[in-house]
């Protein structure tokens, strides 16, 4: 499916290294101006896919088009793409200004134009004061901004970012993510972001492409993917969830449901087909469990609360069902909750809309 404002078309792309199939059957349309994140655990193929887009590797099968043009045999220097590398790859023999100007000088733009573009970009990334410095005099965050400026100053159609925040402290990471959103808004360039960190993906992206073992698992907006993970892998990778082993049964009104060893009944979304009698896993996120009933939260079971983990704005309570299965409940600070008491049994309520049931065999 190719839409009119699609800037990158990846159609059934596969990549093989020798006998090892790193990617297969990748389909993806990237729209102009959006921020897309390639997300997945190590070895899932996200870096490989990015290198394919950048041109450092060629596809083994399938079709890759950028800006409508087929990219077979086109080397990286000829693609309308620029990249921010994981360890920035800034040139040690040039100062900040020259690093940023590098791509413009390669294209032999007139000196005045180079000057104005570089200055403007340095302003955008807020590094104008440091243009004479060399890279060993810069902090990690500053290096990252130079790398960003060096790439963006060339006004590429697509900007690729390869885990650019991996080397930075947590606090700086947060700041940089917001910076990037701001720069994206300022330039309107399409961003393709690669990371294994789901928080970064959720904060930054317009859409997330979730990858595992060389295949696309799900492509969705962050809200959607979080609320309705279409597979067990997606449910577990993005955010946290509780999984209860259940067996599929037919409900009284003929619909499909499942029952837990303790007798608790789980109904909810079934993104993948399930038959009566199948083993399955019912997934409920910790924050979807409550201690008070309401019109929405009408299902319940009994559990004992065995532990509390305080994390500032929220707490995680570890609880145990009567058959020993453990799970976690997340509550906001200030919410009323029963005390931690291994003896007392309390009621825990949830809504079927917050439940997804997956086949048990797959991960």
């Amino acid at each position: 499916m190719t839409t009119a404002d699609s800037i990158i078309s990846i159609a059934n792309v596969g990549k093989k290294f020798g006998t090892y199939q790193a990617l297969h059957g990748i389909d993806l349309e990237v729209r102009k101006g959006e921020i897309v994140t390639l997300l997945g655990p190590s070895g899932c193929g996200k870096t490989t896919l990015m290198r394919l887009i950048a041109g450092f590797e060629d596809v083994t099968s399938g079709n890759l088009r950028i800006g409508g043009k087929d990219m077979v045999g086109v080397p990286p220097e000829k693609r309308p793409i620029n990249m921010v590398f994981q360890r920035y790859a800034l040139f040690p023999h040039l100062d900040v200004y020259e690093n940023v100007a590098y791509g413009l000088r390669v294209r032999r733009l007139p000196a005045a134009e180079i000057e104005s573009k570089v200055r403007r970009m340095l302003d955008i990334v807020q590094l104008s004061q440091l243009s004479q410095r060399y890279i060993n005099e810069l902090s990690g965050g500053q290096c990252q901004r130079v790398a960003l400026a060096r790439a963006l100053v060339n006004e590429p159609q697509v900007l690729l970012m390869d885990e650019p925040l991996a080397a930075l402290d947590l606090k700086i990471r947060q700041t940089m993510l917001e910076e990037m959103k701001r720069i994206h808004a300022a330039t309107g360039t399409t961003f393709i972001y690669v990371t294994h960190d789901q928080d970064e993906a959720m904060i930054l992206s317009d859409r997330i492409v979730l990858l595992n073992k060389g295949e696309v698992v799900q492509i969705d907006e962050p809200h959607q993917m979080y609320a309705e993970p279409k597979s067990l892998f997606a449910a577990k990778f993005l955010g946290e969830t509780n999984l209860f082993p259940v067996r599929m049964v037919a409900m009284a009104d003929g619909s499909s449901g499942s029952v837990h060893a303790t007798g608790a009944v789980f109904t909810g979304k079934q993104p993948q087909p399930l038959k009566e009698g199948d083993s399955a896993l019912a997934s409920i996120r910790p924050e979807a469990l409550y201690f008070a009933a309401s019109e929405r939260h009408r299902q319940s079971f009994k559990a004992r609360i065995t532990d509390e983990l305080f994390i500032g704005s929220r707490s995680f309570l570890t609880a145990q069902l009567t058959n020993g299965d453990r799970f976690r409940i997340q509550i906001q600070r200030g919410t009323a909750c029963p005390p931690v008491s291994p003896e007392a049994q309390v009621d825990v309520f949830w809504s079927p809309e917050d439940v997804s049931i997956y086949p048990a065999a797959l991960t």
Binding site: P75, E77, M83, R87, L90, V106, Y134, G140
Partner: protein
Amino acid sequence: MKLSARWSGWTLASPTILFMLAFFVFPSLFLLVYSFWKASSFQITPAFQFDNYVRALTDELFWRVTFNAVIIGLMSAVVCMAMALPVGYYLVFVSRSRLLEQIILVTWFSSYLVRIFAWRTLLGNDGVINTVLQSLGLIDAPIEALLYSRFAVGVTLIHLYLPYCIILVMTAFHEIRQDLIDASRDLGRSQVGAFFSVVVPNASAGLVGAFMLTLIMTMGDFVTPQMLGGTTGQTTGLLIADQFRRTGNWPLGSAQAVIMFLLVVLIFVAVIVAGRTLGFIPKRRKQRAV
């Protein structure tokens, strides 16, 4: 008792420092001192006079053989570098093949003299090259100029010192991260362009070192020109060696050696200046990559 880091450093380095002092620095200083002494009729007397330098610098013979040595040395070193750069680049950035590296090292395992004699045999009148060319009918009589000529000296010197040069070039390249090349290409340079634009300036210290070391070896080698150069053969090294071996005029030999040393320093400075002007050597000292 815990030594401070500084003291530990000095203690660990001291065996090497002492070795270098005893077997390199002091002998070199002796050489310098000798160069001011007097010698005649196989007798050497301590003195302080510049006669040896004056004599060496005004001697047509000395300049002739030094010119020879410099030309042969420069040509061989330049060809070595020209061959070592692509091989080094390929080994380090493209194939990363240990096997290829080891094949290069294998040629080092034969002795120096064996290789010289091997080239003599290869290039001689009834050597492999002449025999093959004759049997193919490409020539009627053996090409004499293959052996006992500047050509023979050049080819042999290159063969002798190319492995050193490749290893030194590779060492310089190993310091450069692959992603610098990728970044350069990403910003629009071709692979060749990336090499000159990014790899060379950042590896410049190592590459200059590789060139200079190769040059010192090719310039100072006097056995190869003597054995393969025929009547074009003399280089300064032989002159200096003869002062020590034949005439017993150590002061003059020392003075000639010191002059050669200064000549090499001069060439080094020239290379740096040329590199800076042409842009291969960054004007500012290279910083470590982040």
